[in-house]
Amino acid sequence: MARDAERDGIFEVMETAVRELLTDKGLIAATDIRRQIEVLDSRSPALGAAVVARAWTDPAFKQRLLENGRMACEELGITFYDDTQLIVLENTNEVHNLVVCTLCSCYPRPVLGLPPDWYKLKPYRARAVYEPRQLLAEFGTVIPDDVEIRVSDSTAMVRFLILPQRPAGIDDLTTDQLAALVTRDAMIGVVRDLVPSGAVM
C-alpha cells in the first residue's frame, strides 16, 4: 500500500491522542505501551524454531506439545501474553498443514512474533481454503498430489503452529543447530521442506 507522511499523519495523531486520553483517565498505565512494545520485540520465529527443534530431539516433549501446545511452550519459558490457546499440527509424509486466518490476522504471536503482511491480505486469506496447492505454488512450494493438505483457520482464541518434518541426514546436529534450520514460513506451512544449512537450493 502506498504510504506517505500526510496519509500516516492523521492516524498517527489519532493513535497518540487515544493513548494519551486513556492514560489521563487512568484506564491504562503510562508504562503499558512501552512495556508491551518490549514484549513484541522479544518475540520472533526463533522461539517457535526452538520449540520445533526440541520436539525433534525429545519424543516426550513432542507428545506434550501435540497434546497442549501452550503448556509445552510455557515449559520452555515462552510466556503467553494473551488468552490464546496453541494447537501444534505435525506434518507427515501423508499430510501437509497450512495455517490461515480467513477473518483477519490471528497468528501465534507469542511464539512467532507478528505475522508477515501477506498473511493479513485478502489473496492469502481468501484462497488458502479453496486452492491451497496453487497458493503454495506461488511460494515455490509444490506439494505432491498424494500428500493431503489440511488448512486450519485461526480464531481469536485458538492459534496454530506447524511442526515441520525434520530434514533427513542431519543426525549429528545439536538442538540449537537444528533450530537454525527452522523458518517462519515452514511453521506457517507455506514451506514444506527445510534445507540443511550449507545446502544450496
Binding site: 500516516d8 486520553l21 486513556l22 491504562i28 494473551d82 480467513t102 491480505l121 482464541m157
Partner: protein, 110 residues
C-alpha cells in the same frame, strides 16, 4: 454468488473462499506508530477494555468502503476510537480536541 448477494451475506472481513488475485509477498517493517498501535491493542485486551473479538467486530463495523481504503493499523485505530465512544470511555469531542492539541504540538516541534 453475484456481488449484491455477497454484499448482504458476508461481512467485509469474511473473505475465506472468495475469488482473489495473486499473492504479493512483499513485507514491510512496522512504522513506529503502527507498532504502538499494535501494543495498544494488546494493552486494551489485557486491561479488559477491548478484546480481540470486539476489535474484529469494530473493524467490520467500519463498513466495506473504509475497510477497502484504510490500511491495517489505520482500521484498528479508527475501530478503537469508535468502540471507546460506544463504551462511553471517550467522547468524540474529547478525541477531536486532543487530536488538535497533538497536531499543534507536532507542528511547533518541527
Amino acid at each position: 454468488m453475484n456481488d449484491l448477494s455477497t454484499l448482504i451475506t458476508r461481512l467485509p472481513n469474511d473473505v475465506g473462499g472468495q475469488p482473489a488475485g495473486p499473492l504479493d509477498r512483499s513485507e514491510h517493517e512496522l512504522l513506529p506508530w503502527e507498532k504502538r498501535c499494535h501494543a495498544l491493542a494488546d494493552v486494551l485486551d489485557f486491561r479488559k477494555i477491548i478484546n480481540t473479538e470486539e476489535k474484529r467486530r469494530g473493524v467490520e463495523a467500519l463498513g466495506s468502503e473504509q475497510i477497502g481504503k484504510l490500511g491495517y493499523y489505520e482500521r484498528w485505530i479508527v475501530a478503537f476510537a469508535n468502540i471507546l465512544f460506544q463504551k462511553g470511555l471517550l467522547t468524540p469531542a474529547e478525541l477531536a480536541v486532543r487530536m488538535q492539541a497533538v497536531e499543534e504540538r507536532q507542528r511547533s516541534s518541527e
